[in-house]
């Protein structure tokens, strides 16, 4: 399972070139390139309104670009983990039923996926009773039970406490290693970016900078967009030595300030 054929490098899952979306007299995004290979983790970061979601939706083929073009691998299966959603109490939904929302997995596959994300005991629990971290894991299990070629995660750790965030990032990396799927992550929470990210695309209507997490962190465009203070508090999470990002409390305490955009 862990070794995938090398053809992936030649055939990207998604190749969006120079895409632009024009709405109500302005370009929401313009001249944006996104390429995702199998086994590759690509992270889109940027403040709210910077066009992260628009970029992701266009790359997924849900919006027709007004400029540029998008190529998808044929019969691409997408697994989507939405941004912290709340499910109305009126909708009775157990974790197992959630898993069958868009696919028809076998009971064994469901059990396997729940086991994989570490919540094998919660299959019969109503989703409304789960904690933030448990619910994110359930959503992740729902996405991977589809055996996706591409996993799309929109703010996967929102509403999860810091140690939980680290665990979920670990899980995402493991899933990538085991299944060989490509991963597109969307994040406006700049405080933790996965070190395993192969490519960071920093957006502000256009691509303001891109590259490895380290190079983006040092680029002047990034500093200008998010401010020096934000850059200083950004922690690149490394899964083998998590002491590197300093005292946890200090990092979490830096949420106030003008660079923080909630909602």
């Amino acid at each position: 399972m862990s070794e995938q054929s090398p053809q992936g490098a030649a055939r990207p899952l998604i190749n969006a070139k120079d895409i632009g979306i024009y709405r109500d007299g302005r370009w929401l995004i313009r001249h944006v390139d996104v390429t995702i290979q199998p086994r590759q983790i690509v992270t889109l970061i940027g403040p709210n309104g910077s066009g992260k979601s628009t970029t992701a939706r266009t790359a997924l083929g849900l919006l027709k670009p007004d400029e540029g073009h998008v190529h998808q691998a044929p019969s691409l299966t997408v697994g989507y983990v939405p941004q912290s959603l709340s499910i109305d109490w009126t909708l009775p939904l157990t974790v197992k039923r959630l898993m069958r929302l868009t696919a028809r997995p076998s009971a064994g596959d469901i059990a396997g996926a729940l086991e994989r994300v570490g919540i094998p005991h919660l299959g019969d629990a109503a989703v409304q009773t789960l904690s933030g971290g448990e619910f994110q894991r359930a959503l992740l299990a729902r996405a991977i039970v589809r055996a996706p070629d591409l996993l799309v995660l929109d703010e996967p750790v929102q509403g999860v406490d810091f140690s939980g965030q680290v665990a979920i990032y670990d899980l995402i990396r493991q899933i990538r290693d085991e299944t060989g799927c490509g991963i597109l992550m969307i994040s406006h929470d700049l405080h933790v970016v996965m070190a395993d990210t192969d490519s960071v695309i920093c957006l502000n209507g256009h691509v303001c900078c891109h590259g490895s997490p380290e190079s983006v962190l040092e680029s002047p465009e990034y500093l200008q967009l998010f401010g020096k203070r934000a850059a200083e508090t950004l922690a690149i999470y490394r899964h083998h030595h998590d002491h590197a990002h300093g005292p946890d409390g200090q990092i979490l305490k830096t949420h106030q300030g003008d660079h923080r955009h909630d909602g």
Partner: protein, 275 residues
Amino acid sequence: MMDDFFMRAMVAGIGLALMTGPLGCFIVWRRMSYFGDTMAHSALLGIAFSVLFDIDLMIGVFAVAALIALLLLLLQRRGTLSTDALLGILSHSTLALGLVMVAAMPWVRIDLTGLLFGDILAVSRLDIVAIYVGGAAVLGLLAWLWRPLLAATVNPELAAAEGLKPDRARLLFMLLMAGVIALSMKLVGILLITSLLIIPAATARRFSPTPESMALLAAGFGAVAVALGLFGSLELDTPSGPSIVVAALVLFLISLAAPRLHKAQAKRAIEKGHR
């Protein structure tokens, strides 16, 4: 058996409840009860147009309700007024327009009370055929639409990303609602249609572990409410449409007293896991 007006009312009402139960679940889940009300209120405008252009009432009501749904989608896209305000405008202006148009046509005799509150005891055999054939079509379409609609209810972005076309599901669902309103208007009346959609679904919630069981239970509770309401109206000589709604309300109130099955189950599952 069908010669008896009471039996006809019973058969028609139960047929209606089987359709409104599952559909009503989606209205509750998607928080669309005000939207349902708006479409129901537009039915009077549909009747006025049907009379004016001499077309079948059900077709006229369906067409106008569907148009109102499309109009709402268009206005929502412009994004100037909130959906809440738009619904308020559409709901009462279509009702008022319908009332004005009906009054402006003195040559037609329309039983306004019957339209507003329904007249289930006047149901004909043809109406019963329409309800069962139309109802089967509505339920068939809903079953076909179930997966994308449920996924879109949980999260439209998720449904879209995984290829389930949530916008199309939503549009078809609105057309289904227009169909149900056209089919049920004669029986329970314009002002009471949404209660048959919402109250049985709300009653079923506490006893349902899955969306599917909630839909089935809602249909069952609706049918029981129809039966109780009709017998009650016979016994107490009360108007039948409102009596059915009161019966549904009584069932709902009883359900509130019942223990929360679902919560208890969920707790147990969690406790088991954390052992």
